[in-house]
Each structure stands twice: as structure tokens, then as C-alpha cells.
Amino acid sequence: MDRVNDFAFKIATANGTGSASANGLIMQAIFRMGVPVTGKNVFPSNIQGLPTWYEIRVNRNGYTARTAQFDLMVALNAATYAKDVAEVHSGGWLLYDSSWPLDERLKRPDITYLGVPLAEMCNASFKGVRERILMKNIAYAGALAALLDFDTEIMRALLTEKFGRKPALMDSNQKAINLGFDYAKAQFDCPLPIRLEKLDKTKDAILIDGNTAAALGCVYAGATVGAWYPITPSTSLMDAFSGFCQKYRRDEGGKNRYAIVQAEDELAAIGMVIGAGWAGARAFTSTSGPGISLMNEFIGLAYYGEIPAVIFDVQRAGPSTGMPTRTQQGDIMMCAYASHGDTRHICLYPSDPREAFEFAVKAFDLAERFQTPVFVLSDLDIGMNDWMVPRLEWDDSYRPDRGKVLSAEELESAKTFSRYLDVDGDGIPYRSLPGVHPKGAYFTRGSGHTKHATYTEDDAEYTEVLDRIDRKVQRAARFVPAPVVRKAAGATKLGILTVGGCHAACVEALDRLAKEGVAIDYMRVRGFPFGDDVRKFLESHDINFVVEQNRDGQLRNLLTLDTGFPMERMESVRYYGGFPLSATHVIDGVKAKLEKAA
């Protein structure tokens, strides 16, 4: 069977041992060979000593979803050895450190064992505990290079790029690579049937994680204030924003054209964003589910006081602390209706880092256009894993949509100014910013207010404002990114409707199901409130499979709430165990429902 450029392998280590740089090197080398590649970092909520895995999928067709079928296991963690052995696909391989004897009881007859004395070789070649441990990782990368037929020139080039200015590090890394490489070449029949071959399928692509891409989007959108509180898996978003700002927003005198405030908690972080938005800056926060829980009260204030704010929710497995280093789509409902009372929020759902970049920019435009909080719901898989996506492009003619903000001149010439008056009939009132003009002064409050921004407890005055805000947010359905639709080759009564990071798995599942003769139409929603096209899609199919990553079918619930489409006509396909979705999850789910229906 031809397994060139189509296989997956997994590396099991303990965290804090430096395996990340070896795994990054492997990923990048495959990518530079022009071969589509996906990396999923399965890491513990811990700094040192607990099991961690890195999964790499190589796929010439460009399928980037996680696969749970591993052809090769690099089992370097004794603590997880039994589990790791069991996970190897029958007929596969297991690379282990033969410095120590193998536990015979865990031997499987259907896989091939490849012993490489990593520790022994590194102990002989390197001095000091730290270097020996670090180089053991690089040595397995070297062994894999021989086994899987990496282009060694590319590996050398990558090391030069990384360590070019540190010759000592360059030397030890190259030495470690050679140790593994030479040993494997001498002892095994290299390469294995699963192997790499150069392609040209990555030249217009990049390897980037969603948090970095979203941060870049914030820079390009012109965001100037970021307020946040550290939380996995969103921390790297603000870290990246900080890094890009230091590069692009620092003038010659060392002064910053941005402000980042590490808040005391999420309650404060969102308050700072709202304060900054109120004052006229493009401001955002990045957080995860627990942070959104804390922010709820303030989010209601921003909704009712009509203040722009952009909130990145990099979702993780809940409830409560849940599994902070595992992915999920568990905040769909919470974000859509965050806060007490009647609220509804604009939500954007990127499916990969490229959309994280684009939707970050879109989020600021929508927040200012509609004067309301906007959520960007990413997840741990999108946010923290490196994805292969098309190069990011930027249209230099872009200018921010700052919405209806009155200038000093406009205020001067205006007869009157009423902050919450629907002047244009589109539900969006005019804003004024503090410090601009006395005529723009008004009192922002979370308590009942009239269209003239005065306090009220009158039912008619109160409902007038509340109803207008509802119309305003509903109108945003036409401005959020339209759903992505993929029609089946022929007419079908089956549809899959999904969201965000499920995309890659769904697309792969659709192709595989089509080959088996199951034709399904596909829609991925990208924004909330939902537009008419969503209901039309649902109505045009007898069975709609709603694929998502949470226990309660939150997307399905939201579809019914927002479109009125009956829930009974949607079959829920869910996976919520914390790993990124695989095509198998989708296929198995769809088939099970079809069998039930038949």
C-alpha cells in the first residue's frame, strides 16, 4: 500500500524536557519539503514532568484534521508507555529508547519495535544533565529523519536559521541529529514504507497558530488598547500582540502607540476594554470560558450602554476549570447571550488561523459599527496549534469602520444630540466621545435610560430603547461573515451544518462519505445572529446533521432559538472529549444516525 506522504505519527514525552523544539523542527522540515502537515500538541495543565504528546499528520491531499490513527509512535515516556503501545495502528512501528530494556509484557506481535539507544548515545556525546536531556529530543528527530526520509539539507538549513548566531548550539544540535540519523540508517531498513517525498503543496502556505494570527489581526485593525488576564489557552494571543506591537508600534524614542494592561482579573480586563472603547479606542481582551463567566455583568453594560468591545474567547473544555489544555466549543450559548436580562451578541466563529486573522479585523469593524460587544470564538486547537493555512493577505486600501462617531465640528453644528436616538432608522444611534465637545456630553449608564440618555423607570421609554437595540443587533446578521457552503455533487436531502474548528474534519468526512455514495450538502456558519440563508439551508434538507464539540448540542439549540427551525429536524453529532475533531467522529456519527433513521 502506498503510504508516501500519507501517515501519522505521535511523540510521547514528559513536558518540560524540551521536546517542543524537536517537534517544531520536524513539523517545519516536513512543511518545507512541500508536504501538507498538521501538528497537534496534546499537553497537560502543568509545567514539568507530566505526559505530553505531539501528533503529526502528513497528508498529500491537504486534509488537516486530527487523525486518531497512528502509524508510528515515538514512545519516550515510561509513564504512558502502555497506553502509547496500545495506540499504534496494527502493522505500525514503535520507536523506543533502547538504553533500557523493553517491558516484554507490553509487546504486541502486530507492530515493529525500533530500539534507538537515545539516552546512551547522548550521555556519551554530551556533558551536563540538561544538555543530555535536550539533545535526546533532537536525536529522535534525527532517527525520524532517517526512518521517514526527511530532506536532511532542509533540516540543516532550519538549524542554521535557528542557531546561526550560536555556533555551539548549532554544533550540538547537528551532532544530535546525526546520532539518531546514523544509528537508524545503520540498524533499520530505512526508509519505512511510511515516508516523505518532496511535493510543492505548501509554497503559498504558512504554519501559524490562531492566537498569533488573531493578534496580528488586532494590529492590522488598528487596535490600541489590550487588557487581559492570563488564562490558558488564550495567553499567547496577548503575548503575540505585545510582540508585534513592540516591532511595529514603537517609535524611535521608544514610545508606544499602544497600551497593554495586564489586569488584576477578568472582571477588570473587560472593564478596561469597555472604558477604552467608550473613550474611542479600538480595544480588546483575550480570554477563555472562565473569563467570559466573570465578564458577564460588564458585557451586559456594554450591550445596554452601547459601547464597542472585542472579546476573544479561546475556548477550552469546561465546565469550571474543566480541562484547561483540551479543546471544546462549549461557550457557544454563553457568548451568544452573555449577561443577565435580555441580551444578544454578535459572534464570529473562525475555523482556522487565517480566519482568526480576518475575523479579528472584522470584529473591530462590527463592534464600532454596531456599538456593541463582539465575540470571536476560537478554541484551543485553533488558537494554540500550528495550522497550515494560505498566506495572509492584506488590502492596503482598508480603513477601519469607526461607525457613527460625531466629530467636534458635527456636534458644534448639530441642533441637539441624543445619544440613543435612532436618527437613521437602522437602529444605530450616533456616538460622541469624551473630551470632544460640550454638546456631545451625556451620561452612560447601565440603569434604565431614554433615547436621550436620561434616567428612566418609565415602561414605554425603557422598552423603546431595549427594542431598538434588539433591532440593531438583528441587523448585524447581514454584516457578519456569510456561511461557507459546499454543495454535494448531486441533489441530496442530507445536510451537515457546523461551526468553527470542526471544518477540517467535516470536509474530510464529506469526501470520504461521498466515496461511499453518501452525498451531503455542507454549511459552516461563521457569524451570529444567523442570516436567512441558514434557515433556508436547514429547510432544504430532510435530515440536518449538526456537528459540534460540546455535550449539549449548543449550536443546535442556538439554531432553533435564532431561526425558529424545529430541533427535531436536526440530528446532533457531537464530540467533546477534548481532542480536536477527527473525520472519523463525523463519519461514525452521521452513519449511526442514518442507520437509526433507516
Partner: protein, 351 residues
């Protein structure tokens, strides 16, 4: 209700400030607080301070949390943007607004419930960041708007209106502020406008977080015998330790007091705050002394007032963040976006 606008009638004989504005131009809506509420006196002092400083009202942003005290920004500076936020979280709003636009003059009004319970974290961290903000804590020791529960500032042993004693220690906002590094700490009494106005002016001019704890009796729920935040108790036990005068930049300092009892501190805009020491050996730039002085008075059942501590050499939030010296809100977009060429160059990093 705060929606009742005050008629804006100007008597021709009303005194005008440098901007040609009268005190009436610094007022707001008619108060809806109880008659005799200490907070209304604070509001009057705020109006006076802004008027005397000739600050254009629309260049001010006034923020507050939730509670009786937090209603008061509606009652002054009608031409300024106001923001009545959520309970205890005005500091975050002020921090964000200030980060976005540091050119505006920020005043935050809070109470002891708002600041010392739910908001104690936010107030503390705004102090730590030294956000450039005049922060007035209108302190009555009681939750007025929910009808008379003890606040965290209620003194141990003080009696509720129903006659129950408070058995827990009070949190003293001024001590807290000193402990966590506030660059400006003052305490005053709502009934002492002569003392309060110069303190507010100095606080508005101070570049950093100016914490002003104002004992402001609640006439409805905490003005009875046994309350240590009543008018009677405060008048009787108030010990003014430092008298602050505010001297605008253009005016010369004249030697009016004995040299040993006066200390002049220059504020960042060139104005002066003149501190006349009423107690011997008091040094308003010595944090430890200020702390000790408040503690000593407390043990005697006294309330020390005046500008207790000032540090004009501290760095405010923008100083810490190294931001450019102009509002981030008005930076041209072209100076914020690196453009497509740069994006393409950058992406070499991701290959």
C-alpha cells in the same frame, strides 16, 4: 431622580473664572439624594474645585460605580461625559478610558461599599498602576441604597440604626491606599468645604492616583448616636493635621506662615500645594509617618484629616506603559497598521 435638569439661569453678578464660566456652568442635574446627605456637600466642593481651576467641563470624564455616592456624577459638570458603571468596577473603566486617552481629566466617585468590598481589588490595582485619576471615596460607613447594612468601613463598636453593634474591624481606605503605594492620600469631611476644596484641586492636578477619603455622613441610616460616621461624631473627633492650600502656577508663594510649619510641593503642571502642618513633626512626604499618624489617631477615636501623603515624583500608568504622549484615540490609522508589504515579509517567520 437624576433626570430632573437644573435650570441654567445665570445671574449677571455671578463671579466668572478664567474661562468666563460661573459655578452654575459646573453644576449638573438636581440631586435625588436625601436632604442633608453629606454627598451633596462633596458635590458642591467638586463644583467649586473645577470652577476655581478653570477646567473646561467637557474636557472632564466623570465615572462612578453603584450606590448613593455613585449617583453624584450626575449632579455636577453637565457638559462632561459621565459613566455610571457596575458595582465596584469604576476603576477598571477609568483605567481603560485613561489608557485610551490620557489627555482628559478623570474624576471617579465611589463609596465605602463600592470601594472597600466588591471594589477593593479594583481600587487597589488602580492605585498600584497610579492611574491619573481623582478618586473620591464618599465614606458613610453604611449601605444607604439598600437601607442600612454595615459597610466594611463601619468602625468596630459603632451601632447600626437598629441598635446592633458592628463587631468587626473597619477597613480604612486611607491606610490601605498608603500601604499599597498610593502617590496621593487625603482625608476630609464633607462638612468642611474649606478643607476639602483645596484637597480636591490638588488631587485634580496631581499626576497619578489621588485618593481622597471623605467622611460623608448618611443622614438617613448612619447619623444616629453610636455611629462614628455621623455629623456629630466627626465634628467632635476631627483632628486636622495638615492644612492644604492650592496655589495656581502663576501665583507667587508668599511666606505667610512660620517657615518650619509650611511645606510647598510643586505639582506637575507648575502649581503648588502648600501644606501647613498643624501637628509638629508631620511630614506629608513620609509614607510611614502618615501611616503611623492615622493609626495613632484611630486608637484615640480620632479622625485625622488633611492631605496626609503626597509623592509628586511617581510615575503614572502611562509612564509605566511607556505610551506615546498623546491620546491613542487620535493616532492616525496609517501609524498603526504595518501594511501588506510588511505582512508578507513577516510571514517568512511562519515557514
Amino acid at each position: 431622580m437624576s433626570f430632573i435638569p437644573k435650570p441654567k439661569v445665570h445671574h449677571p453678578s455671578l463671579q466668572k473664572n478664567e474661562l468666563g464660566l460661573t459655578r452654575r456652568d459646573y453644576e449638573g442635574a438636581i440631586t435625588t439624594l436625601c436632604a442633608g446627605c453629606g454627598h451633596d456637600s462633596v458635590t458642591a466642593a467638586v463644583v467649586q474645585a473645577f470652577w476655581e481651576l478653570s477646567i473646561a467641563p467637557h474636557r472632564v470624564a466623570k465615572l462612578s460605580g453603584i450606590g448613593c455616592s455613585s449617583k453624584t456624577p450626575a449632579y455636577f459638570l453637565r457638559d462632561a461625559h459621565g459613566f455610571n458603571g457596575v458595582h465596584g468596577r469604576m476603576p477598571a473603566l477609568a483605567t481603560g478610558a485613561n489608557a485610551a486617552n490620557g489627555d482628559i481629566i478623570y474624576i471617579g466617585v465611589s463609596g465605602d461599599g463600592d470601594s472597600l468590598s466588591i471594589g477593593i481589588g479594583q481600587m487597589s490595582h488602580a492605585i498600584r498602576r497610579n492611574v491619573n485619576l481623582l478618586y473620591i471615596l464618599e465614606n458613610n460607613g453604611v449601605y444607604g441604597l439598600t437601607k442600612g447594612q454595615f459597610s466594611a468601613a463601619a468602625d468596630k463598636g459603632s451601632m447600626s440604626k437598629k441598635g446592633e453593634p458592628n463587631t468587626m474591624e473597619a477597613i480604612d481606605g486611607a491606610l490601605l491606599a498608603l500601604t499599597i503605594g498610593a502617590s496621593f492620600v487625603a482625608r476630609s469631611f464633607s462638612g468642611d468645604k474649606a478643607q476639602l476644596v483645596p484637597i480636591l484641586k490638588a488631587g485634580l492636578t496631581h499626576k497619578g492616583f489621588a485618593f481622597v477619603d471623605v467622611i460623608s455622613p448618611c443622614v438617613t441610616f448612619n447619623d444616629h448616636e453610636g455611629s462614628t460616621k455621623s455629623y456629630a461624631y466627626t465634628r467632635e473627633h476631627n483632628v486636622e493635621i495638615v492644612q492644604a492650600d492650592f496655589v495656581p502656577p502663576a501665583q507667587a508663594i508668599t511666606a505667610e506662615y512660620d517657615a518650619g510649619t509650611v511645606r510647598n510641593v510643586m505639582l506637575h503642571d507648575g502649581s503648588w500645594v502648600r501644606l501647613r502642618k498643624l501637628a509638629k513633626d508631620y511630614d506629608p512626604t513620609d509614607r510611614d509617618r502618615a501611616y503611623g499618624c492615622i493609626r495613632d489617631a484611630q486608637s484615640k477615636g480620632e479622625v485625622v484629616t488633611g492631605l496626609l501623603y503626597i509623592d509628586e515624583g511617581s510615575q503614572d500608568m502611562h509612564g509605566h506603559a511607556g505610551t506615546i504622549g498623546e491620546p491613542l484615540t487620535t493616532l492616525p490609522y496609517e501609524s498603526l497598521c504595518p501594511g501588506n508589504d510588511e505582512l508578507q515579509k513577516l510571514q517568512a517567520r511562519f515557514r
